[in-house]
Symmetry: C2
Subunit: 180 residues, 2 copies
């Protein structure tokens, strides 16, 4: 599949079949994430895969209650991946401080998208989740208070396989060619 076709096919899926995922497919998704680039090659990420149904239920209950209820659909995904934003190398953090940019978020964005694109190629549905009770997630996963879980990703076989038309700004709205 050409990359543009893959990028067009990737979409946020919010309904999943109950079919469990084979771990080798999950491993390929994580392998793709592992290969992503990062500032100073810091690789400021780690991935906690929750694919045991009981644990997945506990994590989802913790993550998506109260004001975080809108992402409750993810409780039905056979796999939830908690993406931990790790500290970048000192030189990248120093550079980021001077520049006023948290490079590690750019890096985690790229790595998560690698994971998700590989999932799309595997025929899996995914959804990026940024809206969840992080404290409760960390408690459930036994992570220290200072850990950062900025993203959860739900993964499963999408119940509706059809590719939706993407709603995006036109190319003319988002790019221009500069001439002084």
């Amino acid at each position: 599949m050409r990359f543009l076709e893959l990028a067009g096919r990737r979409q946020s899926d919010r309904r999943y079949a109950e079919t469990p995922l084979p771990r080798d497919a999950i491993e390929r998704c994580l392998e793709a994430a592992r290969l992503a680039p990062s500032a100073c090659n810091s690789q400021p990420w780690s991935f906690i895969v929750v694919d045991h149904p009981g644990d997945r239920d506990r994590l989802a209950a913790a993550a998506f209650s109260g004001i975080y209820n809108m992402n409750r659909f993810a409780a039905r995904a056979p796999v939830l991946v908690a993406v931990v934003t790790e500290r970048s190398k000192y030189i990248a953090r120093l550079g980021g401080m001077i520049r006023g940019v948290q490079y590690s978020l750019l890096d985690v964005g790229a790595a998560c998208e690698h994971l998700i694109l590989q999932a799309a190629e595997e025929g899996l549905g995914t959804c990026w989740l940024g809206w969840f009770d992080e404290k409760a997630v960390k408690r459930t996963l036994g992570l220290p208070r200072e850990a950062r879980v900025d993203v959860l990703i739900s993964v499963g076989y999408a119940e509706e396989g059809a590719t939706r038309e993407k709603k995006r700004k036109s190319l003319d709205e988002v790019r221009r060619y500069f001439r002084s």
Copy 2:
């Protein structure tokens, strides 16, 4: 090309041939970026393509002088893309504030990586650049002071075509399967 193969082939290239790039290849890279996912579909990005040699020289001189000198190599790339981080939708900014995460950086990370993966498929070399004089870049491009240019991307035909072995942490170092 399978996605894992593409992810393995993508690498940071720092030496470019002088050959100019056809705009249709640049357009496909931008199209890939345009299709990237983002929090609340905010699409908080825009791309300024600098492919006129005189303008490219002026931008590079502004971006990579003084303490930013280490990225001087990018002055030889036929194309520099300035990636502007735009404001996310209100609801995404509010959510990000509550969660303490700048979602727009995750989004820009995903979109830049789409651009770069498409470039890799086109046989082009690229490099993410986060270390440059942003104020001087904005002045050169006529952007307002409050604009954010968090990333520059250099694009060209890589002078050395060989794929290097990637230095990454092992999968065992970056992922684990959770059991309570």
